[in-house]
Symmetry: C2
Subunit: 376 residues, 2 copies
């Protein structure tokens, strides 16, 4: 029996813990917040990030430690790294924690990104706006997620307001890409270097938060292979172990790398039922040094996020191929509470089932973009 440490106790830790159980792996979560939703299925160490005694007790007896989000303070990870293998490595985590170093890393590997300029003061922001032109997106270099720590500048008048909102910490201005589609590639790399991508995933965001995913993404231009090459180049460069997510923009037949997440990812939730091995099971296997499972898709899958409120489970379960995931969290506006994954044998049947699902759920859920994508 292995014990796997996870920094962070949210739904990703919960799903890791559920996937770990059959492998004979118990998860132990380190989480400063109250009521982590992983709690019923993992052991919990609840303490502040800088609590040395708690970190030592967390580390005791772990086979390995990993994280469910990239904003874990480096010092906390390093405190554990003395006695426990951290996978992916603290170095890979550090790259992903900073939007500037992340994009420099991508460019250094020959991977195209949206244009970007580091911004440290108002004068620098003005220069950057002149260089990149508007619209552009001002982002904090660190600690951003789900659209937080971002400001879209559309006109010169936005500059002062953007600075007032985000200024005072290191920033990055990124050219706004009028992308055709948002895509992500989720892949896993084993301790022995074995690299396996899942099917390319198309994503739709709402208010900066992932709303819908479709996998395999419609791929008339053969982007899946290119996306996999991008993920592999990155993974090899970082000597990466575990699941890695790369978010991409499709623009003018090009794939631009938007950002990476050094962890299991919301856009990979469809793999639980839609792939031979889920991102959660393969992350556990990778970070414990076990052989990886097949990542082949079982058929088309659509993932619908439930944000702020859960629709009716009982109505949704009447739709064939519907898989329900309730994270057991207290509802709060903007909070990810659960998701559903709809699977089918082919795209036409998936579309028919999505229509049934739309009918079964209230209007808080809108699957129209999925229907459009599947109609093409």
């Amino acid at each position: 029996m292995n014990t796997l440490g996870i920094f962070g106790g949210g739904q990703l830790a919960r799903m890791l813990a559920l996937a770990a159980a059959p492998l004979g792996v118990r998860c132990r979560v380190y989480e400063p917040g109250a009521e982590p939703c992983a709690a019923p299925y993992a052991d919990i160490v609840r303490a502040d990030w800088d609590d040395r005694a708690a970190l030592a007790s967390f580390a005791s007896g772990l086979s390995a430690a990993t994280f469910e989000f990239e904003n874990v303070p480096t010092a906390s990870v390093e405190a554990v790294a003395h006695t426990v293998p951290i996978r992916p490595s603290p170095a890979a985590l550090a790259v992903a924690q900073d939007r500037l170093s992340e994009k420099q890393c991508f460019n250094g590997l020959g991977l195209a990104t949206p244009h970007f300029i580091a911004v440290d003061d108002l004068a620098g922001l003005k220069r950057a706006v002149e260089a990149l032109a508007l619209p552009a997106v001002l982002k904090t270099r660190r600690l951003g997620y789900d659209g937080k720590g971002q400001f879209v500048l559309r006109a010169g008048a936005d500059i002062e307001r953007a600075w007032q909102t985000l200024g005072g910490v290191p920033l990055i201005l990124e050219a706004f890409v009028p992308f055709a589609r948002e895509l992500s590639v989720i892949a896993v790399r084993g301790l022995d270097g074995d690299f396996r991508p899942w099917a390319l995933t198309q994503n739709w965001h709402r208010d900066g938060v992932l709303a819908l995913s479709l996998a395999p993404a419609p791929d008339p231009r053969g982007l899946a292979r290119r996306a996999s090459v991008i993920a592999e180049r990155l993974a090899v460069h970082l000597n990466y172990v575990g699941v890695l997510t790369v978010e991409l923009f499709e623009h003018d037949d090009q794939l631009l790398v938007n950002e990476m997440a050094p962890r299991v990812h919301n856009s990979g939730h469809w793999t639980i039922e839609g792939a031979q091995t889920s991102q959660f099971a393969n992350h556990v296997r990778a970070v414990l040094g076990l052989a990886l499972g097949t990542t082949d898709a079982r058929g088309p899958a659509a993932m619908i996020n439930f944000v702020g409120a859960m629709p009716s489970r009982d109505a949704a379960l009447r739709v064939p191929g519907l898989n329900w995931h309730d994270y057991g969290k207290t509802p709060k506006p903007g909070r990810k509470l659960g998701h559903a994954t709809l699977i089918a044998d082919d795209a036409a049947e998936l579309r028919r089932r999505l229509q049934l699902l739309q009918g079964a759920l209230d209007s808080s859920v809108d699957v129209a973009p999925l229907l459009d994508a599947l109609a093409q």
Copy 2:
């Protein structure tokens, strides 16, 4: 959020709890034994079966209660039934608890069984042996499982010894059937009467304990349909809610009903990865009155039980399509500790992977019967 009560805290309860989690259902287990293996994933009420206060505390706030084994004392179930729906019903449980009433029920529904005679004393045993001829199997009417409470009589000299071993409780003598194959049909019935069978399963036992399962069973004679009709007739008669397992003998082109299990079953473990919806998820859905999921098979699946010792997980995981299930139990001779399910797209590939698995595991695991069945 629902809470589902489960009588018994072994691996079946553990797998029910893991399947219940994504549905927003927490499981609460009632278990008199120490260290129930469901413990890390369910709440535990540890008390004797006749502890009225503990039973009341167990029942408090449950949406429904079910059981993971059929030998729960009727009085314990009835104590809870005053306030909580018991599914399947105590009446269905009572039928399954007694080999005599079970077989009488089957025959009453026109379902063929091996011949049987109730035995209450040594003289009765002698008369029964004369009527059925040898070989025959003497069984306790109640509390038998995994070959326990059984004695195979091969010659007249065995009669006294069989009586000494099992006598003193109500018994049943069953004609020994030289069956061609052991099969089982696992099916689920919803609160609304919706009935769904999984693929027919072929089983192999070793020392009275299930060793291997293969699903869908090779079926040149169209037995799957007949097995489903048997399970449905039984389920409708018992007004059954939940997963029901019927064990069958194939003999002279006939299906004989051997016994039923009013619960999820070891021979249905392959459904976790081998079917669209597992027996565990559908049992939870059924007993909570939710719509049932599709039971269609995803492809051929082979299940290998690990009894007494776990082979090397790390070696097994190198086989493509291998799914590992460690129940987290302390090893003990004859104890079911875990299982593996191997899946593939077709029978030829499943056979190839089984050969890889045999090579990866030590000799404690013998998959030869699966290889033979798949070669035909």
